[in-house]
Amino acid sequence: MNKNPISVISSTAVPLNVENVDTDQIIPARFLKATTREGFGKNLFRDWRYEKNDEKNPKKDFVLNNPVYSGKILVAGKNFGCGSSREHAAWAIKDYGFDVVVSSFFADIFKNNALNNFIVPVKVSPEFLNVLFGAIEKDPSTVITVDLPQQTISTENGKSEVFEINKYKKTCLMNGYDDIDYLLSIRQEIEIFEKDYKN
């Protein structure tokens, strides 16, 4: 099913300077009772965002509650998305309005889930991650640019780094294809494989 293709994303960013952000923090289990993909954004980081689960009582020191920060890019500490395989974490991030997550290290399942939801996981060096945190914290209005075709991420004042992305995945993101479209297109090949396959 075609999604919106991704090319160059330029935006301010939200700095979440925390390591090992697990998917239970991104979206706690008690919000996984829905049977659709929509509406998870309002519970993104629920227990870091609100005192005692009370929407009228936001935690002042949590970055999503800080009005100076906004944008389509979330910059986070290393080992982002570890723990549970819940894709609801990716749905919540996308639904909240992020198209890119930057970290120095992503957990495997989260990375797949992000890509399947057209969120670009940009893995940068620990040094460049610090550059980004520094730049955003110094000037929250600074614009970060993620150029998918060129595979670069850069700051306004000219600091930039190349990031890796699987060539196949890059093609999917830039054209709005998803893996299911691809797999369905080779169904015949799968059936031929099954003919000789025993287990």
């Binding site: 099913m1 300077n17 925390v18 390591e19 090992n20 697990d22 239970d24 923090q25 706690p28 289990a29 008690r30 996984l32 009772k33 829905a34 049977t35 659709t36 993909r37 227990d47 005692k52 689960n53 500490g77 290393k78 080992n79 570890c82 723990g83 549970s84 395989s85 819940r86 894709e87 609801h88 990716a90 290290f105 957990a107 495997d108 399942i109 797949n112 889930n113 399947n116 939801n117 699987n166 060539k167 196949y168 995945k169 998803d178 893996d179 299911i180 691809y182 797999l183 369905l184 080779i186 169904r187 090949e189 799968i190 494989f193 099954e194 396959y197 287990n199």
Partner: protein
């Protein structure tokens, strides 16, 4: 060409490889449950697709079910609807469902092996990260997201990049009071919560070969907690005798034929691993976690690390944040600390062997009156076996009540939660902030350590109970 166990199985399941891209990877068995499947079924419906091979997918309800009065309608509306949705989807798409009330119902990673669905050499996926549990049988088993659940249902394949392979050897004899949960907590505390990311792990060595299947499953289960894609153990006589005669296992001549195949599933002696680590079993002690990821573990007699001794700034801040959440101080001992809750359950430790171990510690003793203890068997079959072996009497006499099967307080999705700010010694696999309920403080440990805490109401060293027993 010599191959690792992982490579032998992987290569057999590659339908085709996308140039500069992932492999199209064929899946033998697919488990689903109520929480991560509804959106996948909805996706199929949107595309007007059937389930390609419905007989290769098996469903159960576990994450979001109550653990008392399962015979009654589920009270909580959203949970009831989610379970109902799975019933409808399975009926509509022709998928076998072991739902509430079915004698095969239980936590998805408990029922696969015990029913004989999980077999060596298979590729197994489920929308749940602890699918790695099935690797104890020499399978490639791992957790996937809901989009991938949809892919498997639509085409029996997913796209996967081949991970690197790491071998972790554990050699030697374990000390008394040390069980497989301690081994894996020790490994993760050394490797860290992200140290095996990008790898598939094979566990090997004399210690592993000496473990029961239940104990091996506990180890493979927690592979994901160090970031590994999955964990696996080569099948051997222990595996085959566990599997023999299980409900869905081949029987007679078919079994003999399969057995010949399964016996070829091991890493060739000169196979090359991308990384190899060895642990000495004799150096492992009962373990407990103090922090908010499973890598933050210490010996039960140890002290909580002090953030001031941490040289790396971000590590220091992380540790501070964790300790603040946990209400603990660097340098503090956990032994003797009061705990208000004990949770015995989850796909890590709720098999029959776990209950036998616990019964051996609590037999003839009384539960601490102030401690809430939640005991949840992993499946209906485990619950039945507990009764058949008379273990339920042992639990009852000690003052413990046994609940009905489900994930329960492992993830705090139903009403089984740990109250904010309270401590819980838990046999589950994750101590993340709020995992067992908002504000809950989880200390991961073995079933033995949990049993000891249930008796004393404190973090206790189970070895003192075992000494006592030996003295009798």
């Amino acid at each position: 060409m010599s191959k690792t166990l992982f490579e032998k199985i992987w290569d057999k399941h590659v339908v085709t490889s996308i140039p500069d891209g992932p492999d199209v990877f064929y899946i033998d068995k697919h488990f689903i449950h109520e929480v991560t499947s509804p959106q996948a079924f909805a996706g199929l419906e949107r595309r007007g697709l059937p389930v390609f091979h419905p007989q290769k997918t098996i469903a159960t309800t576990d994450h979001n079910v109550p653990t008392i009065h399962q015979e009654l309608p589920i009270r909580e509306e959203l949970s009831r609807r989610q379970v109902q949705k799975l019933n409808e989807n399975c009926a509509k798409f022709g998928v076998e469902l072991y739902g509430l009330g079915h004698p095969f119902q239980g936590i998805v990673h408990i029922i696969g092996p015990e029913l004989g669905i999980t077999q060596p050499g298979m590729t197994i996926v489920c929308g749940d990260s602890h699918t790695s549990t099935h690797g104890a049988f020499g399978t490639i088993a791992f957790g996937i997201g809901t989009s991938e659940v949809e892919m498997v249902m639509a085409t029996q394949c997913i796209l996967q990049n081949r991970p690197k392979v790491m071998r972790i050897n554990i050699e030697g004899a374990l000390h008394k009071g040390v069980v497989s949960k301690d081994i894996i907590l020790q490994i993760i505390s050394q490797i860290s919560a992200s140290g095996a990311t990008g790898y598939f792990v094979e566990y090997a060595g004399s210690t592993i070969r000496g473990l029961s299947m239940e104990a091996r499953m506990t180890i493979c289960n927690m592979s994901i907690e160090m970031g590994a894609r999955g964990g696996m153990i080569a099948p051997d006589e222990t595996t085959f005798s566990y599997m023999h005669d299980r409900h869905f296992m081949p029987k007679g001549a078919e079994w003999d034929k399969k057995l010949m195949e399964w016996k070829k599933l091991y890493s060739d002696p000169d196979a090359v691993f991308d990384k190899e680590i060895t642990f000495d079993a004799a150096a492992i002690e009962p373990m407990i976690t103090y922090g908010t990821n499973p890598g933050m573990g210490i010996r039960i007699t140890g002290v909580v690390p002090n953030p001031e001794n941490e040289t790396d700034e971000s590590e220091r801040n992380n540790l501070k944040k964790s300790l603040k959440y946990m209400g603990l101080e660097g340098g503090q001992r956990l032994l003797g600390m009061k705990v208000q809750n004990v949770f015995i359950g989850s796909c890590t430790n709720s098999r029959i062997e776990d209950f036998r171990l616990i019964a051996s510690v609590i037999k003839g003793k009384k539960k601490d009156p102030d401690t809430r203890v939640l005991i949840v068997p992993g499946s209906q079959q485990v619950a039945a076996q507990i009764r058949a072996e008379g273990l339920d009497k042992v639990f009852e006499e000690s003052g413990f009540a046994i609940r009905q099967p489900g994930c329960s307080a492992c993830l705090g999705m139903n009403e089984d939660k740990v109250p904010p700010g309270e401590y819980c010694i838990s046999t589950s696999n994750r101590n993340f902030e709020g995992r067992q309920g908002p504000g809950a403080r989880t200390l991961l440990a073995s079933p033995l350590t949990a049993a000891a805490a249930a008796l004393t109401g404190k973090v206790s060293d189970v070895r003192s109970f075992l000494d006592e027993q030996n003295g009798n």
